[in-house]
Symmetry: C2
Subunit: 272 residues, 2 copies
């Protein structure tokens, strides 16, 4: 039987399901971890959701997502920091040991300015993160999102930022979708691992016929990423955490989610 | 009056116009250079087109495009090399001193394998390029095209490849659309300039609401790229060649091309 002991699924992956539906379906399918998106908690008591998840035998891998630290005005940057403090409180409530950061980018600012603001933002939430024992995972996004979502566009940039911040609570989240093209990927995964900074690992696939830059990601095996190879680099770098399936796909969201969940498990077994 | 002495436009930019129409319109508008796409020469005698361009007082900056060297089979890679030899012959015929290379990428191959095949392909056309005095410009494409169009996804990768090939005929083509997000851009432009490898320079813009990954590029000023800043880096690195407007846009192609040409000249003057 397939080994699903490291399989985690993000609530966004099965977006049509409420978290109250996703949890029992994941658990019944043998999935062991869940990453909770903040929208899945909306209008709910996070503590109650924590009990629901625990009783189903799942563990929470991370909360997605914090970040978006950049802004043209100091007031907006302060507002972002406050929002991240709230996200940390949600992490505590729902039992997430990690907050994933999509760091932000503001059009009209230079890359260097964006990176400086991101550093300031992360440093501003370090104290509450440390107090709560919640780690912060900088997720480099694909450069096609460098305009408005993340100035941090490569694993090297994430590692460099970790060096500057220099806290054991701040590390890197690797997503194959964002990083597969990078000739330095293996070296930078190794570097992050050696520094104890490989905090989490997301998988999906890159389709060569993507119809939408955001919401047409592939299920593992539908695209061109050699996921097994990247997983082996993660393994070699000492990562033994969850393998998280995070897929944004209007195509898959339109399907029956029970069938989709079966497909996820099948493709996880074959391709990851 | 605006200084258009460095302004060059690609035939693809005003795609609805045949080259026979583009040439006089460009010339009458005060444009000094033209970059010729191979499809614009289809069914025509390249030598005749050269005379047409010369008589209009334009000079040919480059031919676009060669490359696509990668393939799963040796036979297909040989075929690509032959195609590039034909492109060099077209360069000679139409009077283009530079062949721009979109280097290729084959799904299922590693980045390193793709880069090796690209190096082999370029080395296979070095001799005819040198004989004809035609330079080869490696154009790094944005990483969102790293699946099927170009494994060379950063200026650093292009510079590294130039180092490996080590020929004065092989250099780099910088396109702001592909490279704006890269924190190493200035350093790598400087590196290319110091090595005498800054062969050409393309401008357009990156819109944050891009509806299509390929054919929804912005006119300069419509997007978020600080083009003046990148131009100043090119200047500082010693580049004094043409500034080439290369825009793929179904939106602009649907407009009256005379108005579009006026917009190009206006935005070139304001934003480049």
């Amino acid at each position: 039987m397939a080994d699903l002991s490291r399989l985690c699924i993000h609530t966004i992956t099965t977006r049509p399901w409420s978290i109250e539906l996703a949890v029992p379906y994941f658990a019944d399918a043998g999935v062991r971890g869940i990453s909770v998106w903040r929208d899945a908690l909306e209008g709910r008591n996070a503590d109650t959701m924590r009990h629901l998840i625990e009783r189903a035998g799942l563990s929470v891998t991370s909360l997605a997502r914090g970040g978006f630290f950049t802004a043209a005005s100091a007031a907006d940057r302060l507002h972002a920091i406050e929002e991240n403090r709230r996200a940390l409180e949600e992490c505590e409530a729902v039992g997430a040991p990690l907050l994933v950061l999509v760091c932000g980018a503001t059009p009209g600012q230079t890359v260097a300015d964006n990176v400086d603001q991101i550093q300031e933002g992360i440093e501003a939430i370090l104290e509450p993160a440390e107090s709560a024992g919640i780690r912060l995972g900088i997720e480099p996004l694909h450069p096609m999102y460098a305009d408005t979502r993340s100035a941090i566009a490569t694993v090297k940039m994430a590692n460099d930022l970790c060096d500057r911040i220099d806290s054991s609570m701040v590390g890197v989240t690797i997503d194959v979708f964002h990083c597969w093209w990078d000739p330095d990927l293996q070296a930078e995964i190794t570097r992050a691992g050696a520094a104890g900074r490989l905090f989490s690992y997301h998988v999906c696939d890159w389709k060569t016929d993507m119809s939408d830059m955001l919401n047409d990601r592939g299920l593992m095996g539908e695209g061109i990423i050699d996921i097994r190879r990247i997983t082996s680099w993660m393994d070699d770098a000492g990562f033994d955490g969850a393998i998280e399936v995070e897929i944004f796909s209007t195509r898959w969201w339109a399907e029956d989610q029970v069938s989709f969940l079966n497909e996820i498990i099948d493709s996880y077994t074959r391709c990851v």
